[in-house]
Symmetry: C2
Subunit: 654 residues, 2 copies
C-alpha cells in the first residue's frame, strides 16, 4: 500500500506480528482495529436509538431549560406555533392563491371520490373541511394538500362493501366507514408515536407504482358507469366483470346524452391538462374541473337533460359536518371489522401521504419527521371520524397544484378548508343538477396521471425483480381487486428482502494491474488472480439466513478454481482469503459457518485468511474465540497485505 | 495507491478524465469497471440458478451420455446404488456395531416417545422400523439415526390433542396422527423437489437452541407424571400448569414405590451418561437404558409392584406395522387439520434432520444436498404414514452415538431396523411389566442434553439480539406452549432480518496514517479525517426498505460534521464521498434516494462523489442515467483516488 519504507514506525504494534514477518518477509502489516468494548446498556441504547430515533428528533431539546423544553415540546406537536410566528403577508399571498386553486380543484373531486367510497357526496366535502384544519396546526409538510383521495376512497369502498351493502343499508355502511376511519387514524398515530414509521418503507417504490397504476385503471373503469349512463353496473372492480357489465348493457343501457356531455367535458379537461404542461399555465387544469361543473350544471338545468336519462347528483346536504361520535361502532362485530379495514386503509393513506411529504420536502430542501407526520395524520383522521369525515390523506394531484401555485405553508390548506366551508354553508344546493358524467370525467382526468408508465419503463431498465413486483401489483389490482393487488405488492416486496438476505452475492477478486487494489474479476476483466491464492468477497452480513449458503458458495468457488488448475501442482491453492469489507455483521450462525469453513479448508491443507473485518465483526470473532482458532495473524487490514503475507510463503513451498 | 509514477501508462483510458485531471492535478485515475451487459434471459437464468440450484446439483451430469445420465439420475434418488457398490466387510463391521448400539438405545426411547405423542407404545417401535429402511436407500447422510424424536413427538402430541382427545377418541386421534404424518412427508418432499430447502435456514441457530432447550424442559416436566406416579395430570404443557398438577397431587397422588424405582434408575442413567463423557466408553450410556428396562421390568415382575400402584406398560401389540393407508383422512374436516399440523411438524422435523446431517457431514467432510435429503425424509414419512408410523426424523442423541460407535454408512440404520423388527416380532410381550417410571427416567436423561446452556452463553456473548430470540423461544415453550415458542422463534428471527434490511450501518471513514487506506474512524481511532471532505460508507445494499434511511443518515452525518466545524470556513465541507464497496445492489428506490441526496447536496454547494461502486450498482447507475447526472468523473475506483481528486480542488478555493 505504498508504505514499504515505514518498517521502523509503530514498532510497538508489531510485536505479535514478528513471527509472521520473519516467516513471510512482510515488511509492514497493520493491525485490524478492535473498537473498545461498549458496555451492554450503551450498546442496547445505541441500537434502539438508531432503529427508532434514527432522525434524532430530540436534537433541539439538548441543553435547554425546563420551561424552554416544554415550549419546544408543544411546538413539536403543533409546528404552527413555531412557523406561525414568522408568518408574513408575503407568505399569505402565496398561500391564498394556492389555497383558492386547490379548493377549486378539490370540490368537484371530493363529490366524485365520495361516490367511489359509496358515500353521499357531502361526505367528500366534509372530509375536505375538518382534516385540513387539523393537519395545518399539527403537520410539518408545507406543500401537501389534505383531503379524500381516489385510491383510498376506492380501497375503503371495496373493503366496506364486502361487509355491508351500501345501497340496502346506507346507515350501517356509513357507521362502519366512520369506525374504519377512526381506526385508520389510531393506526397512523400509533405507528408514529411508537416511531414505527419505517414500516411504510416496506412497500417498495416499484410496488407502489404498480398498485397506483392498477388502482387508477380500476377507478377509471368504474367511471364508465357514470360516463356511459349505465344503470345496472357490477359491484366488482376487476376489469373482466366491469367490461362484461359495460357490453351487456350496450344495447339499451347507454345514454347518448350522458355520453355527449361526458365526452366533451373529458376532452376539455384533458386539453386543459395538456396546456398545464406549460408550468406557467398550471392553473388551467386546476380550475378546469370547477368550470366543467359550473358549465355542465347550468347546461343540464336549462335543458332539463335529467328528464332524458342524464343522471344528476340530485341531492346534497347543506351545512357543515354533523358530529358522528355516536355513529362509530364502539362494540360488537363491526368494531373488529372496522378495526381491520381501518388498519389497511390507514396504512395505504399513510404511504401516500409520506411519499408526497418526502417528495416536496426534498424539492424545497426541508426535513420532514415521518413519525411526527404520522401522528398529525392520525390525529386528523381520528378527529375526522368524529365529524362525519372518512379517511383523508395527502393527494398527489392537488399537492402538485398547491406546490406550483406557490404555497408557502400549511395555511393554503386552511384557505381551502374555508372555501369548502363556505361551499357547504351556502352553495351545495346548486350542485343538484350536476351530472354524474362530469364527476366521472373529472375523476378519469385526475387519476390518469397515476398510471406512471415512464416510471414502469425505468423500473424495467433498472431492476427486473422490481418490475415483477410492479406488474404483479398492477395486474393484481386490475384483474382481481385492490386487496389482492396490495397483497401481491407486499408479498413480492418481502420476497425480495428474503432473497436478498438468503442469497448474497459473492465474487472472486483479482489484482488490478499496477495497483494494490483487488476487485471483482468480472467487473474488471483486466484484474489478475494471484497464483496459489483464492480471494473471495462475500457481499453481505453473514446471518443465519445465509451463513450456510455463504460457506457452501465459497467452497464451490474453491472447487471451480481447483478444477481449472487441475494437475498444475505449482499453483495449487494454498490460501483462501475472504475479503470481509462488505460483511457488516455476523451472528452465531455466521461464526459457526466460518468455523466449518475453516475446518473444511484445514482438511484440504488450505489456510483461511480474513481481510478487513469491520469493527462489529472483529469484536464477535474475538468473543467467539474464532479469532484465536484462526490465528490473529491471519486477519489483515487489506487484501493487499494478506496477499503480501501469503505470496512469499507460497514461494517457500517445494 | 502507490502508482504515482504510472501516469504515462494506459493513456488511452484517460481521455475522458483529462478535464478533471487538468483541474484537479490528479496524476492517474482508474476507471470504474462496467461489466458487459448480459442479455435478459441469461441474467434471469443466473438468478434462478443461484437461488434454487446454488449447490449446482447437476454438476456430475455434465458431458455424459444419455444412458449414463439415466443411471446417474437413479443413483441421485437412491444413493445406496452408488455407495453400495463399494461397500466392504470393514464398513459392515462398523455399521453392525453402531446399528446394534443405536437399536438398544432406540427401543426404550421409542416406547417413551410414543407416549409423548399420546400414542400406544408400539407406534414408536413401528416408526423405528419402516422409516430407517426407506432413509437408508434414499438418504445421503452417513451418520444420521432415524426414528421418532422427543421434540417432534411432543409437538405432534400437543397439536393433535388440540383437535381430538386422545383418551376419549383414540382411533380418530391415531387417524389424524397418520394424516399429519402423511402431510409432513408431503411438505418435506415438496420443499426438496422445488428446491426450497433454504427455507429451513430462516429458523436461526439461536432460535433453535432456545426452542430445543424449552422443549426439553417441557418434556422433562411432563415426565413427572410417570416419575412420581401421578394419576390425574394436566393436559397443558406450560410449567405453571404442570407444577400446579404436581403439587396439588402431593398429598395423596404420589406413589413412593414409583419414585424409588424412577429415582434409582435415573441416577444410574445419569451416572452412565457421565461415564460416557470418556469417549472410549460411549457405549455405556448407549446401552444403559436397555439395561434399565430389563432390570426394572424383572424387578416389577418378581415383586408385583404393579399391584402397589406402580404404573406399567401393561399391553403392547406384537407383530410388525399394519397398513394404515385406510386410516388416513383423505377428505373432510380432519384432512385440513392434518394438513396444517403436518406442515408444522414436518418443518420442525426437517430442521432437526438437516441440522444433524450438516453437523456430521462437516465432521467427516462430505457434502450433503439439503434438497435431496428433504426428498428422502419426505418419502420416508409418506411411506411411514401408510405403515402405522408417525413423524420420524433424525435424532440428535442417537446420531451422536451412531457416529461415536463408528458407523460408516446408512447400513447402521438397516441393522437397527432389523433389531426393531425382531423386537416387534418376538419380544414385545416382555415389556408388559416395564414401569412407566423407567420410561420417564430414560426420556429425562435423553432430553437433558438438549438444554444447551453453553450454546446460550456463547450466543449471549456474541450477539445480544440472537440471545433475545433464544430466550424468547425458550420462555415461550416453557411458559406457554411449543406452538407459542415456535411462533416467537420465527417472529424474532424475521424481526432480525427486517431490522437488518431497514437500518444498515453507516460509518465515517478516515485515512490510516502512512497508508492510502480509508477505514471507519470508530474502529481505527488513529485514522484522520480529510479536511473539507466527508467520507461516508453505507454498509448494505440500498433497497426500498432502507433507501430513505440511508439518505437521511448520510445527511445527518453531514449535519453533525458541519456542527463540529461550525464557523471554520477553511474546512467547510465541499465534497461528500460515499464509499460504495459494501453497497452490493441498488434498486429503483435506492437510485431515487441517491438522486435526492445529490440534489440536497447541490443546494448546499457540496459535490457528491462515489467510490468503488460494484458491477451491479454501476450498471444500474448508468441505465438509470444517474451516472450522467452525477458526472462519470465523480465516480472513482477507490476512496484514495476520490480524495486525491477532491483535495487539490479544495486548495483552489479562497
Amino acid at each position: 500500500m505504498g508504505h514499504q519504507g515505514d518498517e521502523n514506525l509503530e514498532t510497538k504494534e508489531m510485536g505479535e506480528r514478528s513471527l509472521s514477518i520473519s516467516r513471510g518477509q512482510v515488511p509492514y502489516v497493520h493491525k485490524v482495529g478492535v473498537p473498545p468494548r461498549q458496555n451492554l446498556f450503551k450498546e442496547f441504547q445505541a441500537t434502539v436509538k438508531e432503529t427508532f430515533f434514527s432522525d434524532d428528533p430530540l436534537r433541539s431539546f439538548k441543553d435547554q431549560t425546563k420551561s424552554r423544553k416544554f415550549i419546544l415540546g408543544i411546538e413539536a406537536i403543533f409546528p404552527i406555533l413555531s412557523w406561525g410566528r414568522n408568518y408574513t403577508f408575503k407568505n399569505f399571498r402565496g398561500d391564498l392563491i394556492a389555497g383558492l386553486t386547490i379548493a377549486s380543484l378539490c370540490i368537484p373531486q371530493d363529490i366524485g371520490y365520495a361516490k367511489l367510497a359509496n358515500l353521499a357526496p357531502q361526505y367528500g366535502l366534509y372530509s375536505s373541511f375538518v382534516p385540513p384544519l387539523i393537519y395545518a396546526v399539527m403537520g410539518s409538510s408545507r406543500d401537501i394538500a389534505i383531503g379524500p383521495v381516489a385510491v383510498v376512497s376506492l380501497l375503503l369502498g371495496t373493503l366496506l362493501q364486502n361487509e355491508i351493502d351500501p345501497i340496502a343499508n346506507p346507515t350501517d355502511y356509513r357507521r362502519l366507514a366512520f369506525t374504519a376511519t377512526f381506526f385508520a387514524g389510531i393506526t397512523q398515530a400509533t405507528l408514529g408515536a411508537f416511531r414505527l414509521g419505517f414500516l411504510v418503507d416496506f412497500l417498495s417504490h416499484a410496488a407502489i407504482v404498480g398498485f397506483m397504476g392498477g388502482a387508477a385503471i380500476t377507478i377509471a373503469l368504474q367511471q364508465l358507469k357514470g360516463f356511459l349512463g349505465i344503470v345496472k353496473f357490477t359491484k366488482k372492480t376487476d376489469i373482466i366483470s366491469v367490461m362484461k357489465s359495460v357490453f351487456s348493457s350496450a344495447h339499451h343501457g347507454w345514454n347518448w346524452q350522458t355520453i355527449v356531455i361526458g365526452a366533451s367535458f373529458l376532452t376539455f379537461l384533458l386539453l386543459a391538462k395538456h396546456i398545464g404542461k406549460n408550468k406557467k399555465l398550471f392553473w388551467v387544469p386546476a380550475i378546469a374541473p370547477l368550470i366543467s361543473v359550473i358549465l355542465s350544471t347550468f347546461l343540464v338545468y336549462i335543458t332539463r337533460a335529467d328528464n332524458k336519462g342524464v343522471a344528476i347528483v340530485k341531492h346534497i346536504d347543506k351545512g357543515i359536518n354533523p358530529s358522528s361520535v355516536k355513529e362509530i361502532y364502539w362494540s360488537g362485530d363491526y368494531l373488529a371489522k372496522g378495526f381491520r379495514i381501518g388498519i389497511v386503509a390507514g396504512m395505504i393513506a399513510l404511504t401516500e401521504a409520506i411519499a408526497i411529504g418526502r417528495t416536496f420536502a426534498s424539492k424545497k430542501d426541508y426535513q420532514i419527521d415521518g413519525n411526527k407526520e404520522m401522528v398529525a395524520l392520525g390525529a386528523m383522521n381520528v378527529v375526522g371520524s368524529m365529524t362525519s369525515c372518512y379517511v383523508a390523506t395527502g393527494s398527489f394531484s392537488r399537492s402538485a397544484v398547491n406546490f406550483m401555485a406557490g404555497c408557502e405553508t400549511a395555511v393554503s390548506n386552511i384557505v381551502m378548508s374555508i372555501v369548502v366551508f363556505l361551499t357547504l354553508q351556502f352553495i351545495t344546493p346548486l350542485f343538484k343538477y350536476t351530472p354524474h358524467a362530469i364527476l366521472s370525467a373529472i375523476i378519469i382526468s385526475a387519476v390518469i396521471n397515476l398510471v406512471d408508465y415512464q416510471a414502469a419503463i425505468l423500473i424495467w431498465k433498472i431492476d427486473k425483480f422490481d418490475f415483477i413486483a410492479c406488474m404483479g401489483a398492477f395486474l393484481g389490482v386490475v384483474f382481481a381487486s385492490v386487496e389482492i393487488g396490495l397483497l401481491i405488492a407486499v408479498s413480492i416486496s418481502f420476497a425480495k428482502i428474503l432473497l436478498q438476505v438468503t442469497r448474497p452475492r459473492t465474487a472472486i477478486l483479482g489484482k488490478i494491474p499496477r495497483t494494490t487494489v483487488y476487485r471483482n474479476i468480472q467487473q474488471y476483466p483486466e484484474a489478475t488472480k494471484v497464483p496459489g491464492v483464492l480471494i473471495v468477497r462475500v457481499d453481505s452480513a453473514i446471518y443465519f439466513s445465509n451463513s450456510n449458503y455463504a460457506k457452501e458458495r465459497i467452497l464451490r468457488w474453491l472447487m471451480d478454481e481447483e478444477e481449472q488448475i487441475k494437475g498444475d501442482y505449482q499453483t495449487r491453492i494454498q490460501f483462501l482469503i475472504v475479503e470481509m469489507s462488505p460483511v457488516t455483521d455476523i451472528d452465531t450462525s455466521g461464526i459457526h459457518a466460518l468455523e466449518e469453513l475453516y475446518k473444511s479448508l484445514q482438511k484440504r491443507d488450505i489456510q483461511l485468511v480474513l481481510a478487513n473485518p469491520g469493527s462489529v465483526v472483529m469484536d464477535k470473532l474475538q468473543t467467539s474465540n474464532f479469532a484465536n482458532l484462526l490465528g490473529e495473524d491471519n486477519i489483515f487490514l487489506t487484501v493487499a497485505e494478506a496477499v503480501a503475507y501469503c505470496s512469499p510463503k507460497l514461494a517457500e513451498d517445494p
